[in-house]
């Protein structure tokens, strides 16, 4: 990050608004955990002490109002798809979606004969990061979060003239 530090005496740092916004957003991704099946177990393991997502500023929230990122981990059934859409719509902008595991990506083992499974959550909500695996290991989930970080770092708050 381009920062001018120490140029104007102590405690003064010069950078751009975009950088400081993106830096703070990407370093405090609060996911709304949406554990749906076996992948949720890995998601819980990643949040727990061994992998300790807290060190990345990632801290699971139980309510969509406080969340930045919707982490869908597991098999999305038709009945649950209505809820996932509702929760996604309740989240405040800017919001991101991580699709964790084969089930959330494409239906996984149920992609052909699962009569009740949505064949990928991207059929119902937009997705930013896909994490492959059945289930993905905690390292893969961490990698997914870091990818999302990279994506957030490229954003800008500037708007085009309309």
């Amino acid at each position: 990050m381009a920062i001018l530090e120490g140029r104007y005496g102590p405690n003064v740092v010069i950078t751009s608004i975009d950088k400081i916004f993106n830096w703070s957003r990407s370093r405090s991704i609060w996911p709304l955990t949406f554990g749906l099946a076996c992948c949720a177990i890995e998601m819980m393991a990643t949040n727990a002490s061994r992998f300790d997502l807290d060190r990345f500023g990632i801290f699971p929230r139980p309510t969509p109002r406080q969340a930045d990122c919707l982490l869908v981990s597991g098999t999305l059934t038709a009945k649950m798809a209505e809820r996932v859409i509702r929760l996604y719509e309740q989240m405040a902008e800017p919001k991101y979606v991580i699709s964790m595991g084969s089930c959330a990506n494409s239906g996984g083992p149920y992609w052909q004969y699962g009569y009740h499974v949505v064949k990928g959550i991207d059929l119902v909500i937009p997705v930013d990061v896909y994490i492959p695996g059945c289930p993905p290991r905690p390292e893969a989930l961490i990698d997914g979060y870091l990818r999302l970080r990279e994506k957030i770092m490229k954003e800008t708050i500037a708007r085009k003239d309309s």
Partner: protein, 170 residues
């Protein structure tokens, strides 16, 4: 008591009921006509010698022409087990409910109704239990045709060649 002793005991109480002991299965089972099912269940539960106070499981099977409901019973008092099977035609899948005898049967019968479409007569709350109330069909039946969508949510399999299209729409 073993399964055949239980069967012999039941035969003395219901000589004309048409009970059959089927020993061709890995675990012998007693086939009960649906007309007698409730009476047999009441006796199995209430009789001191049998004392089946626990319905461990109630499942349903699609056998083609027939639908079967299977009852796995266990007596904690005497430590013996027994399996009942009730066979109905798939055109007329009605079986009396045993939820008045074993409360466990309440949710299990709702599940069998939900997934196999067996109607349990006299059930206190005959709704679907897992699938949404407005779902069509009973998915564990062998001739089930999956829904293409439900409330606007697509449920069809996305073939690999359609992936590009799916990404564009998503």
């Amino acid at each position: 008591m073993t399964q055949s002793e239980i069967f012999a005991y039941l035969q003395t109480s219901f000589p004309d009921a048409g009970l059959v002991l089927d020993e061709t299965q890995p675990e012998p089972l007693i086939v009960v006509p649906r007309e007698q099912l409730l009476d047999v269940a009441r006796l199995l539960n209430a009789d001191e010698q049998l004392h089946f106070e626990c319905l461990m499981c109630l499942t349903s099977i699609d056998m083609g022409e027939e639908l079967h409901a299977v009852y796995n019973l266990y007596s904690m008092k005497h430590d013996h087990k027994c399996t009942l099977r009730c066979r109905v035609n798939r055109e007329d899948p009605v079986i009396p409910s045993v939820s008045s005898v074993w409360a466990t049967a309440d949710w299990h019968e709702r599940e069998a109704y939900d997934l196999m479409g067996i109607t349990f007569e006299g059930h206190p709350d005959p709704r679907r239990i897992l699938l949404p109330d407005d779902w069509e069909g009973h998915p564990l039946r062998k001739d089930y045709q999956p829904q293409k969508e439900w409330h606007g949510i697509p449920l069809e399999a996305v073939q690999p060649e359609d992936l590009e299209k799916k990404r564009e729409n998503g």
